[in-house]
Symmetry: C2
Subunit: 235 residues, 2 copies
DNA sequence: CCAAAAGTGTTTTCGTTACACCCATGC
DNA sequence: GCATGGGTGTAACGAAAACACTTTTGG
């Protein structure tokens, strides 16, 4: 692998120094439960950060694509295969990891908590309300905030929120998810209008069961009908 | 560095395998010249891609922050220090680099081409019109497109375009830059309205010189007055 | 009958777009 | 005087926001 100096476009590289950096992937796995946006975390057990919350991550293997590494982490921790996953940012401060030079690429993911079996809860693997987290190990709080911000931007014009819900859901549940993510209250009539206008929903002609009030209709996501918003300056 | 397995949050890692991945940074350095959006490129000299255009990049050094690496590349190639630089995405397909496993984090940068001295034009370092590039070495065309797309999104509501222009510029020049980036024609009156509304400009009470028509006023960027647009769903 | 949420349209507001004429300069 | 772009305002349109009452169900 010394050839990298001779054959690459990088110029005058010398030696194995460049292989003293490890690359990891950290996943911010969002879920929605009890009306709150939650994130899947573990308790950190390295001495510098003992007891603090930590995201789920792992080093990237030499023979695996970066994206594959994030899918692997998700699969290992949640058992889920086909999930929404989006790369957000790579954090590479020299001192971000006490054990050595580790650069991490972060992803956020949206899953339905009811699909996840947290059977082996090693290191107290659990769902934690995003709004209750004010401290984490490493730079994971920064990462969490970056991913949450990216999610907020994303939901504005992309129908990704459906990944947090079961296949069948009511408009109220859908609105609750948006409110949890954006941390605001939304107008119910305008909310409904928007979704019907976007044509993102399919009416299933079924009603909610076991609710202590008038049951709402159930919908599923209409994957086919997604179109982007027009941009501001491009006429 | 074996400790990483014991002390980190990563779990059951074994050995030095994880240090067989190199990390690089690639910079998409945009400039504006002759009415066109251009990018600073070199000719690739590794055998698999000989003669193809390549972005400017280098491996990240073990003791340098990721962001610092991108600033270093920029400084080494352009001599410029204080420039706009934004991380875009990290590309990590196993086979993206023929010389071995190299994962690259990409940045885009906006500079004023007239500030850049391409004195030592090694490997034919030059400004190339973005729209004329249909093939590059490695996955650099994908990277270029990702950065161009990010730039398009960015200029919609962030005043970053000023970085491509000299300190003093006319509204026509400013509009030309937007048109080059977005690849559309814009309405002149609405364009002016937008900028005055945003309060992004300071009227310098000077006029263009040596233009073969009525000279336009010159402006500079008003860094203080930047505010974001409101988002769609958050009322 | 009471509580709780479902369902439903219209008006107002505001930002975006479209559009045409006179002006200043160089040649 | 002619070519080139500079400078300017208004009307139409469309998207988003504000807003209240009736209906359905469970208890």
């Amino acid at each position: 692998m010394k050839q990298i100096s001779r054959f690459s476009h990088f110029g005058e590289l010398s030696d194995k120094d460049y292989f003293r950096i490890a690359l990891s992937v950290d996943c911010v796995i969002f879920g929605f439960e009890d009306g709150e946006l939650k994130v899947l975390v573990i308790n950190c057990n390295i001495k510098e950060y003992r007891g603090k919350l930590s995201l789920l991550g792992d080093l990237v293997r030499p023979d695996e694509d970066l994206d594959s590494a994030s899918y692997r982490i998700l699969r290992e921790r949640t058992g889920l295969g086909d999930v929404y996953l989006e790369q957000v940012q790579t954090f590479g401060a020299v001192d971000r990891h006490p054990a050595g030079r580790v650069i991490t690429t972060t992803y956020f993911s949206l899953v339905n908590v009811r699909d996840v079996q947290l059977t082996l809860a090693e290191n107290d693997l659990h769902w934690h309300p995003v709004n209750d987290i004010h401290d984490m190990a490493f730079d994971h709080l920064t990462i969490l905030h970056a991913c949450h911000e990216r999610l907020r931007e994303k939901v504005d014009d992309h129908p990704v929120v459906f990944n947090l819900l079961p296949k069948k859901f009511s408009l109220r549940e859908l609105q609750c998810v948006y409110e949890a993510i954006l941390n605001t209250r939304l107008d119910r009539r305008n909310f409904r209008k928007k979704f019907f206008m976007m044509d993102w929903l399919v009416d299933l002609d079924e009603l909610e069961q076991d609710v202590p009030h008038r049951p709402g209709k159930l919908y599923r996501f209409n994957a086919a009908k997604f179109t982007r918003k027009p941009k501001a300056l491009a006429r």
